[in-house]
């Protein structure tokens, strides 16, 4: 475990040094982030100019949801997405062997070796929106709310990571999973609004198939005093089960990959 953390730090440093060279990237990222957040806030304002609350969620509460979505999006684009994309590319080009022959756990390696540090901008802008939303909440937040929030955020991140890895591992069987990434990017947009507003079929889809609801709405519920213990249990349980399942799936896929290229 400690080794993993050490490796993670190492890759982070190297990735950062690489990216720091490209100042233009940083400015562009800043701009893109500003544009995305700006337009989202405008739309939110527009929506709330026509109504007081959306399915029981006030404007501040919605800002909380949005902040979490942007923040988590930053985490995904900074660590999860680049690694999974690289994994799929390397499977296609046969370069995965380089990673597999290293004396480290292969799943750990392929999951932490790429860091796009400039995407961290989204983490900060998301946090800012989140803080702004929290400051406007009618019912204040308690310390236990905040702790629960961070815990559930972590659970959500794990869920999304597992999901991404499962999809990326599919590339061991189906070579062109690239277009699925486009799909996932689009679906993540649904996380900007509380899941309860969606029709049932969509709600189920973004809860269990693409676990966006668990990743975003549930932590938001923690901060907005909507959380029920059954939801927490479900989230934690689902996450643990998925984590284990993902591990098995990874090893299964790996056996297939090695067998195929032998």
């Amino acid at each position: 475990m400690r080794r993993t953390a050490l490796l993670g730090w190492l890759f982070f440093r190297i990735g950062s040094m690489n990216e720091l060279q490209y100042r233009a990237n940083f400015l562009l990222q800043l701009l893109q982030s500003a544009v995305a957040v700006g337009t989202a806030l405008v739309v939110l304002a527009l929506v709330y100019s026509h109504t007081e609350e959306l399915n029981g969620w006030s404007e501040s509460e919605l800002l909380v949801v949005m902040g979490i979505q942007i923040l988590l999006g930053g985490v995904i684009r900074m660590t999860i997405q680049p690694n999974m994309q690289r994994l799929m590319e390397e499977v296609r080009d046969g370069k995965l062997d380089f990673a597999l022959t290293k004396p480290e756990d292969s799943q750990v390696l392929v999951s932490i070796r790429d860091v796009r540090i400039w995407q961290a901008v989204d983490i900060f802008s998301g946090a800012a929106v989140l803080a702004y939303g929290v400051s406007g909440l009618e019912r204040g937040v308690t310390v236990s709310d905040v702790l629960l929030f961070f815990a559930l955020l972590g659970v959500g991140a794990v869920l999304i990571y597992c999901f991404w890895l499962i999809v990326a591992t599919l590339s061991f069987w189906v070579v062109d999973t690239w277009s699925i990434l486009e799909l996932l990017d689009g679906v993540y947009q649904t996380g900007r609004w509380p899941v309860s507003i969606y029709p049932l079929w969509l709600r189920l889809g973004v809860t269990f198939i693409v676990p966006i609801a668990f990743a975003i709405t549930v932590p938001a519920e923690a901060l907005t005093s909507r959380l029920e213990w059954s939801t927490v249990a479900l989230a934690v349980g689902f996450s643990a089960a998925l984590f284990v399942a993902t591990r098995y799936w990874w090893r299964f896929g790996l056996r297939r990959y090695s067998g195929a290229s032998a």
Binding site: A24, L46, E53, W178, S179, E182, L184
Partner: protein, 274 residues
């Protein structure tokens, strides 16, 4: 006179050939195109659900637009959005870097023809693949849509006009790449403006009045909102034809701009090379 007729005919021949080539190539990527199309659905579906929720909370409509009309708006949105996808400034960046531009400059044909014809071919495939998706959306969201024949005709013309407007707009923007590689920043700002003032995120009538005024002076409304409104809304004949005229105006203006910028761009490229 004969020479001119010959030129037009060969240009047409090129468009047909190039378009057909693209259709053939694109058809091989049916599955990928489907995934991409479905991914694109998230945005309109989300907004559809949000506005419908508000409408239902308020007794059936927001500012006069009913849930059925919202559904119709956002379903037609998916088609218009596809017609709006053209060659981006990032594409120009890639094109110059990879030497594709040199190859294009050696041919006795303006590269814009290649883009127009190629993307048109792609659109044909996209529309064909989109039809079943539209059917599913229709069933799922129960839109209210009852267009007249004139509205359908105007819509068909308007989506072509939208395609041309957006192509010309992004081409002139894209050619800035000849002078700087930082075109991404300008592009992002333009996109931000477009998102808000084109009817893509929010139907224009729901925007504050001053925003709607501004939108009238920008091409975005005419490449996005107008085609949808032509089919879904209740425009008079005068408004329909007037809208087409506005599209034509923007096409002429932006095409002129593109051609002027191109002349300078080629000069710049030929001085510096690749």
């Amino acid at each position: 006179m004969n020479a001119e007729a010959g030129r037009v005919r060969s240009l047409l021949d090129y468009y047909v050939t190039r378009g057909r080539t693209q259709i053939q190539a694109q058809f091989q990527y049916r599955a990928a195109t489907y995934f991409w199309l479905i991914g694109m659905l998230a945005e309109p579906i989300v907004y559809l659900v949000v506005w419908t929720t508000i409408a239902e909370q308020q007794g059936g409509s927001v500012q006069g637009i009913t849930t059925g009309e919202f559904a119709a708006y956002y379903i037609v949105w998916t088609l218009v959005r596809n017609m709006n996808i053209v060659f981006t400034p990032y594409g120009w960046e890639w094109r110059i870097r990879e030497g594709q531009l040199s190859a294009a400059l050696l041919r006795p044909l303006h590269p814009l023809h290649d883009d127009l014809a190629g993307f048109a071919g792609w659109k044909v495939v996209t529309i064909l693949l989109w039809l079943p998706i539209a059917a599913v959306l229709w069933v799922a969201f129960d839109p209210v849509l009852d267009p007249t024949l004139l509205e359908v005709a105007v819509f068909s013309l308007a989506i072509c006009g939208a395609y041309l407007i957006r192509t010309m707009f992004l081409s002139s923007l894209g050619m800035i790449t000849f002078w700087t590689t930082r075109v991404g920043a300008i592009f992002e700002l333009a996109i931000a403006l477009e998102l808000l003032l084109s009817g893509r995120l929010v139907p224009l009538p729901l925007m504050p009045d001053w925003a709607q005024e501004v939108a009238n002076f920008l091409p975005f409304k005419w490449s996005f909102y107008f085609p949808i409104d032509a089919l879904v809304g209740d425009l008079s004949r005068g408004e329909l034809l007037g809208g087409l005229a506005m599209q034509l105006l923007w096409i002429v203006v932006l095409t002129g701009l593109t051609m002027v910028v191109w002349r300078f761009a080629v000069r710049r490229y030929s001085a510096v090379g690749n």
